[in-house]
């Protein structure tokens, strides 16, 4: 079972991101369960949402305490919440930031986890360009598809269109595709650097 935890702030579409991820997995024929951290959360407050993906029915209802994947929608949370809590040793981390892990003060995370499973993507900037609003949730799912290969960009696009309609859907699909390309490039650069 793949367990994904998404951290962000109220208003950034954290819960919607987990829901879209579950729709993307369902689109690929898998069982998925998405749920929020059940709070009466306000705009700007730290919010957590969860998604489990498996090939069999998912019965477990506990919050995700040991995630395989961490998506951080707001880098200011890094100094407020222990987002890395319980992260699996082979885990993936995707952070919405223009800066690298090193520049974010996460050198220790870089040392502890596999480099090719860590990425940052400027999702807010990409969202502003495509949507005109700083909503990084769907954008990061495109980045996650590139980072992990665990869901396809096509399935992410399907999920976006299941949740949104018209121009908003189109803009989010385009933004997710840009994030996908961005992370792919990042991973290629890393592979070259490692080969050198």
């Amino acid at each position: 079972m793949l367990q994904i935890r998404i951290h962000g702030r109220g208003g950034q579409g954290v819960v919607t991101a987990a829901e879209m991820l579950s729709i993307a997995a369902f689109h690929q024929g898998r069982h998925a369960q998405a749920f929020p951290s059940f709070g009466s959360e306000r705009t700007g407050a730290p919010v957590v949402a969860f998604c489990r993906i498996d090939d069999a029915e998912i019965r477990l209802r506990e919050p995700i305490l040991a995630p395989d994947v961490l998506i951080v929608q707001d880098p200011t949370l890094l100094h407020q919440v222990d987002v890395f809590q319980g992260l699996h040793a082979e885990g993936y981390v995707l952070i919405n930031s223009q800066r690298s892990f090193h520049d974010l003060g996460l050198a220790d995370i870089e040392q502890r986890y596999r480099h090719e499973r860590l990425a940052t993507v400027p999702a807010t900037e990409i969202a502003l360009r495509h949507l005109g609003r700083p909503l990084p949730n769907a954008v990061l799912l495109g980045g996650f598809a590139a980072l992990s290969g665990l869901i396809s960009l096509d399935a992410v696009g399907h999920a976006i269109r299941a949740k949104f309609a018209g121009k908003v859907a189109q803009a989010n699909v385009a933004a997710a595709a840009e994030a996908y390309a961005f992370v792919r490039q990042e991973l290629e650069d890393l592979a070259h650097a490692q080969a050198d």
Binding site: S22, S40, E57, R61, L65
Partner: protein, 417 residues
Amino acid sequence: MLKQIEGSRAVAEAVALCRPDVICAYPISPQTHIVEGLGELVKDGTLTPCEFINVESEFAAMSVAIGSSATGARTYTATASQGLLFMAEAVYNASGLGLPIVMTVANRAIGAPINIWNDHSDSMSQRDSGWIQLFAESNQEALDLHIQAFKLAEELSMPVMVCMDGFILTHAYERVDMPAQAEVDAFLPPYEPRQVLDPAEPVSIGAMVGPEAFMEVRYLAHAKQLSALEVIPRIAHEFQQRFGRRSGGLVRGYRCEDAETIVVALGSVIGTLKDTVDDMRERGVLIGVLGLQSFRPFPLAAVRAALQHAKRVVVLEKSFSVGLGGVVSTDVRLALSGLQLHGYTVVAGLGGRAITKASLERTLREAIADKLPSLTFMDLDWRIVNRQLEREAQVRRSGPIAENLLRDVGTVASKVS
């Protein structure tokens, strides 16, 4: 048709497939998404003919439901927590009058302290109201139980509460199989009321009954609930024949056959318990889970039959009776009268406290070692409990308890883990 949707949406669509004539509801978390969904389906013409009535309170919601049901209209409402308490007087009237209203209770704790999260205190407070109470383990079962509930309610002329865990189910996106309209129509016949306010054949409903017949009216309600012990499994069987799924019924055992220890529970925690049981079985522990799908009527015989060969029974419940202990456990003990079984009550998940596999396994292992107290509050934070007790011992004006404990915990926001 398979869909990946929110539990609330799944219930809204299932209720719409049952062709209700009247839906009246007042919004309260975590039930709101259900009636919002139904409101959309009525407004966009998907669900027609149907009158969606916005009311000014939960008391009004149940009162309108009583009125519309008495005219022969198939009637649905939904509520939770304080909303259920606020409509309590009308809840008793609906069952006392024998009106087959179907109501979703999106289970949520009762204040004070105010808390929007899940436990079973709300529906347990109405367990003696005369309503049938069914509990859903998953969103698929919640959807299926609503379709069964209308059939059950109308056949018996008795209201049915479908209880589903607030947030944990109502706000979870998961895969559900949504039946086709034609299939639901074939399963659920049009409503034929036993009593109806009809100008062509006038009757009055709601007579005052004195000591000469009150006991008899109440007894008949009990007899009807006892007959539901036959009807509920039959309807679940008919449902399975038509839709190919096992949903509902009285009780459902999981790996109970050779189990020495059986955990009894209601609602969505059964899923987490099944995973816990699988893990413990792999390590050689003979353990199983018995899920109660019907809490009222309480299936005494089925519970006894399922548990009588076990050595110990652990009732895990999201409710408790202050000053006594378990609510569900009391009924389970009654089912086990005369049997020499070790019995434990574990109160867990109150006010949305996460119920984790790790805590369950630790608690169950203590029960198996017969080291568990007969009443346990799982994952209780004794540190803040004891600090408050010390405070109360030291000073007279120790202040409001909830505020003190939040200060001790060091946060005013909720934590998931």
